[in-house]
Subunit: 333 residues, 2 copies
Amino acid sequence: MSKRVALSVLAGIVLASSAGSAPALAAEPIQPIEPAKIMSPGMVELGKKLFFDPRLSKSGFISCNSCHNLSMGGSDNLKTSIGHNWQQGPINAPTVLNSSLNVAQFWDGRALTLQDQAGGPIANPGEMASTHALAISVLQSIPAYVAEFKAVFGRETVTIAEVTQAIAAFEETLVTPNSRFDKWLKGDKGALTNAELEGYELFKDSGCTACHNGSAAGGNTFQKMGVVEPYQSTSPAEGRVAVTKEEADRFNFKVPTLRNVEMTYPYFHDGEAATLTQAVDTMGRIQLGRKFTEAENAKIVAFLKTLTGDQPDFKLPILPPSTDATPRPRPFD
Amino acid sequence: MSKRVALSVLAGIVLASSAGSAPALAAEPIQPIEPAKIMSPGMVELGKKLFFDPRLSKSGFISCNSCHNLSMGGSDNLKTSIGHNWQQGPINAPTVLNSSLNVAQFWDGRALTLQDQAGGPIANPGEMASTHALAISVLQSIPAYVAEFKAVFGRETVTIAEVTQAIAAFEETLVTPNSRFDKWLKGDKGALTNAELEGYELFKDSGCTACHNGSAAGGNTFQKMGVVEPYQSTSPAEGRVAVTKEEADRFNFKVPTLRNVEMTYPYFHDGEAATLTQAVDTMGRIQLGRKFTEAENAKIVAFLKTLTGDQPDFKLPILPPSTDATPRPRPFD
């Protein structure tokens, strides 16, 4: 028996075994979130500091956590975000929670990986408004950071690739297992109320799971916003066409995850739906051609609120202070 | 023997006993920071959430922690702060760390207590730009907050007095014991290097401790900025005269604490001193009429860096989500 065959058999055994302990799992379109496996704790700790460090912005005021606030579902709970000099962003900040499960990053999927994504806002003039070179100068001037980068990456010289790799490593830990819905999926039949369960059945029967499926209940495909009737928006966002240049991709957006959706309001790429009730109503109409009754809507919303999992659970990071050599923030020029 | 006399005798015994275990303590102008005694943990936890909650601002973007960032020495490390709509603040944000040891709050001491202070920025149009009424509407619309206020204060109705009391209770926990200097004060003679100790001796001999004394090494008096020669500043801040209306108090500012001063750059009420070296040089010249040599300055700076104590040590708070009834943030109007 070759090694490959042996491994396949072993995999088969493992699968059979987990199917045996929770037979419902395979049949449901939404799968449980699994806890993060942390391969490099030092890199994660470094990435956490960087995620919270506003010195990656020109102003010294905006960090990754400003718009992906881990106290608030990994989002800023604003329609569109606030950038350098209070610029109004063009799009709703997607949650960073469970973002490692996304097929790609940003609403239009223009970054394939979390690492690719992390470099974007730092150098975006409308967001953190720094440059990669300036961000590196700041970090390189702080001995405690240099030592930490060296411990993790083995080199004295900090690079933007290391910065974004560390941030991505931290972000990969931001999964949210143990929601009530996942407990139900794993066999705890008392984890959901009848209304929540009815909401889930309606969610499936209405076709919501055509897009909102997988462990993130979304995040794994691009879909047109406005299938049955056009979506009216003043947002300039064009969707995936901006990446592919294919006209067929106009208004195609990455399907957002519904994990922790109670915390990630407002909804849609333009943030125009302030509440889950509005979001469910709009989705029903424009994506499925279905007008949910008030009672149906309430049941689906009740189900959606069972998708809130374990929130980030770590100590507030303490950042190493700047030194005399550190380039100073320039918030007002 | 009356009860009062008996207590005095007892107090005498306690004092004698602590003097016996660390004889140097009484003789030094700077005293150790003692750990916080938490009397009401529920109130502290509630105050921590409020401190991190940007929904206390009109924009939904600025929290207490934005300008008193507990990852960065309880300050924003900016010359002057950024307020609503990116307004440039008139003054350097003082650290919230050890602020419970201050004689009063704000640079001009216009708030006598932490509770009085906490209400100011929420309603200041140049800072968080909300109103107390709006902040209360937000909190009152969030059942998890209402339940927490009820558990702490015993009432269904949230008031601004409770909000500020809870924030103050949290801030009172933000003391920073166990600095290397405090270890030295308490008898660990190896806690400081010779250069640091020489810096401390020079700090005392030069007269710095005339103002920077007590457990916070400052914070306990108002003093004129520019005793020996006038301090040149473009800052509009007038100092304590704004509160007392006494011309003698012009340019009198609260002496800032030197605790964690390595982390609370830039320095002075106008943030004009970017580094400790600059701050020590300016203070020597304008307050003491003394030009420190480069070597002297370096020793004092070395001493100052021993004042960094235990930084805030708690989990990032998770905020309860808004509900359909919660007034929405208005960042752009």
